[in-house]
């Protein structure tokens, strides 16, 4: 279990203090896939770097299985870091080493005998689906392949935690999905705890069980992905779950609802059914939906008819649908 207690990090930027993390409290259970989402500059990267103390927090505690990392000696900390692996947006592979040697690297520095390290590295190459790239250099690989090698390298030290710092942000959508699937798969098969840092809600929806929304260095909301996604309680949360490009201020004043698809069948024509079954015409104001393995995820903003009876009918109908949640969008014009 990873617990962050009252974690604060203050940087000095041009002589003035800047609070990157402000009293962050988070608990991450073993085996979770925990997402941390926020806009750029919200403090996400600082947060993960505090978990393995690449950044030393200004105050607060980082507890891993009850042990406080900040109180550890350099030697103990180095040992602890070997159980917290990390992958990065820019992959950060050693360019002068072959893929096999890259994967051997964490074992090499931990003093694992070379033959044993090589055997394990070959297994890992298999796990990440690149058994033929042992002798290739990273420069010869595509972005997705590089990240697979980075994942294999991260797993080489048999870590308890895998931290992904914007690990898919440099990849195209299809490769992103493949990499996320691989991470999910590894989480399922090994029970490793995964912390996912991202600015994309789709990444959170795709693999995370829990999520924390970080806003200006503070945790705005935290909970299961379904909870937070269906009913964001804060402004920061809403901004993240609303479809891309929707400006809240430009929405009609009344009768706007947001519906969230939480993995129901993507073959259900919800809006068409609404029109046919209830005879209510709704206006799609914005939508951001995805089909993941035949399941619908994402969100949609609907403008309901002004007639209160018709609107109520539509709300009733949507509430009756499985795997769809809805909330009213508050009037922002007052």
């Amino acid at each position: 279990m990873i617990e962050l207690r009252d974690l604060t990090k203050v940087f000095t930027v041009d002589g003035a203090p800047f609070t990157a993390l402000d009293k962050v409290d988070l608990t991450i259970q073993d085996g979770d896939v925990f997402g941390v989402i926020g806009m750029s500059g919200a403090g996400k990267s600082t947060l993960v770097r505090c978990v393995n103390l690449l950044e030393r927090p200004t105050s607060g505690q980082v507890l891993i299985d009850g042990q406080d990392l900040c109180a550890m000696s350099q030697k103990e900390l180095i040992a602890q870091r070997r159980s917290i692996a990390m992958i990065f947006q820019q992959f950060n592979l050693l360019m002068q080493r072959t893929c096999l040697k890259n994967i051997c690297f964490p074992m090499e520095i931990a003093g694992v005998p070379a033959a044993q390290a090589k055997k394990r590295a070959l297994e890992l190459l298999d796990i990440v689906g690149l058994p033929d790239k042992a002798a290739a250099y990273p420069a010869q690989l595509s972005g997705g392949q590089k990240q697979r090698i980075a994942i294999a390298r991260a797993l080489a030290s048999d870590p308890k935690v895998l931290m992904c710092d914007e690990a898919t942000s440099a990849l195209d959508p299809k490769t992103t999905r493949d990499i996320l699937r691989l991470i999910k798969e590894i989480n399922r098969s090994t029970g490793i705890t995964v912390i996912v840092i991202t600015h994309e809600m789709s990444v959170i929806e795709e693999i995370c069980s829990h999520v924390a929304i970080l806003d200006h260095g503070k945790v705005a909301e935290t909970g299961t992905v379904e909870e937070v996604f269906a009913n964001p309680r804060t402004e920061a949360g809403r901004r993240l779950v609303y479809p891309d490009g929707v400006v809240i201020d430009q929405l009609p004043a009344v009768n706007v609802i947001r519906i969230a698809f939480n993995g129901g069948s993507s073959y259900e024509p919800l809006i068409a059914s609404l029109a046919i079954d209830c005879g209510v015409k709704v206006n799609i104001l914005g939508a951001d939906t995805r089909n993941i393995d035949g399941k619908a995820f994402g969100t949609m903003l609907l403008g309901l008819p002004e007639n209160p009876e018709e609107a109520a009918k539509a709300v009733q109908y949507i509430k009756g649908q499985p795997n769809v949640t809805m909330e009213e969008v508050r009037d922002y014009h007052v």
Binding site: N52, L54, I78, A79, Q80, R81, R82, I84, A85, M86, F88, Q90, N92, L93, L94, M95, Q96, R97, F105, P106, E108, I109, A110, Y137, P138, A139, Q140, S157
Partner: protein, 252 residues
């Protein structure tokens, strides 16, 4: 100046001098250059590493005082012109070697002039290392020493080799200057026979041999730097080969 072309006797005399002194001069030049380069790296490589890892925010930060002392020493030594430095270290050569003339005595001023230069070359190479890779190594629990030994130096190897080639050639050409103070080698032949005794054929041949040496070492250095660079594709290597042929001239 080109009298030897019309005077067979003078030509024969000069060829005779060349036959007698050139092989020895070539040998002295090569071994003094190799020895000086090796010793300069023995001091300059660790110093260059310290300049990078020891700065604030580096892999193993050192006290600011230590860093500024090292920085000042390097800058001071680099600002003394080599010709003056050679004279200044004559007492030191006597102290270490018991003599201030000969090829060995030449190694002392060469090393003193070259190691600060080498440390800056090493520093510049290591600064090219990807910060993200260093961070990744730290996140895996690397000690500072492991980061230097297994990340910084191997990742910067091509650049370090390019720097080594530059250092080697600079030391070679500076070593040739030392003929003036009684050092040996091709430079001494060019100055003593060619310039002082007006045997211009000897001078030209000695200089041409130096030029050929520089060409050979530069080509070998560039070849290894590119062959060991795993970041480049084949076409990238061709492009880089063209770009690498611009050279610094001197320790300063």
């Amino acid at each position: 100046m080109f009298d030897f072309l019309s005077d067979p006797a003078a030509m024969a005399e000069e060829l005779d001098i060349l036959a007698q002194s050139l092989p020895m001069g070539l040998w002295e030049t090569i071994y003094s250059t190799v020895l000086s380069t090796v010793l300069s790296y023995v001091i300059g490589l660790p110093l260059g590493v310290i300049m990078v890892v020891g700065e604030p925010g580096g892999v193993r930060p050192l006290p600011r005082g230590v860093m500024s002392v090292l920085n000042t020493v390097i800058n001071l030594l680099r600002s003394v012109p080599f010709l003056i430095l050679m004279m200044m270290v004559i007492p030191l050569s006597r102290l270490i070697l018991g003599t201030s003339v000969g090829t060995m005595a030449l190694v002392v001023p060469l090393v003193i002039a070259a190691f600060p230069f080498v440390s800056r070359l090493v520093e510049a190479s290591l600064r090219e290392a990807d910060k993200g890779v260093v961070e990744a190594a730290q996140s895996m629990g690397c000690t500072p020493f492991q980061i230097i030994w297994k990340v910084l130096l191997p990742e910067c190897l091509p650049s370090l080799i390019t720097g080594f080639t530059t250092a080697f050639i600079t030391i070679l050409s500076y070593g040739a200057m030392a003929g003036i103070i009684g050092g040996g080698g091709l430079g001494a032949i060019a100055i003593n026979y060619g310039y002082y005794r007006k045997k211009y054929l000897v001078m030209y041949v000695a200089v041409i041999v130096l030029v050929v040496l520089v060409q050979i070492f530069q080509s070998v250095g560039t070849h290894f730097a590119l062959a060991l660079d795993r970041r480049l594709s084949r076409s990238g290597k061709k492009r880089a080969r063209k770009e690498l042929h611009g050279d610094k001239a001197g320790f300063q």
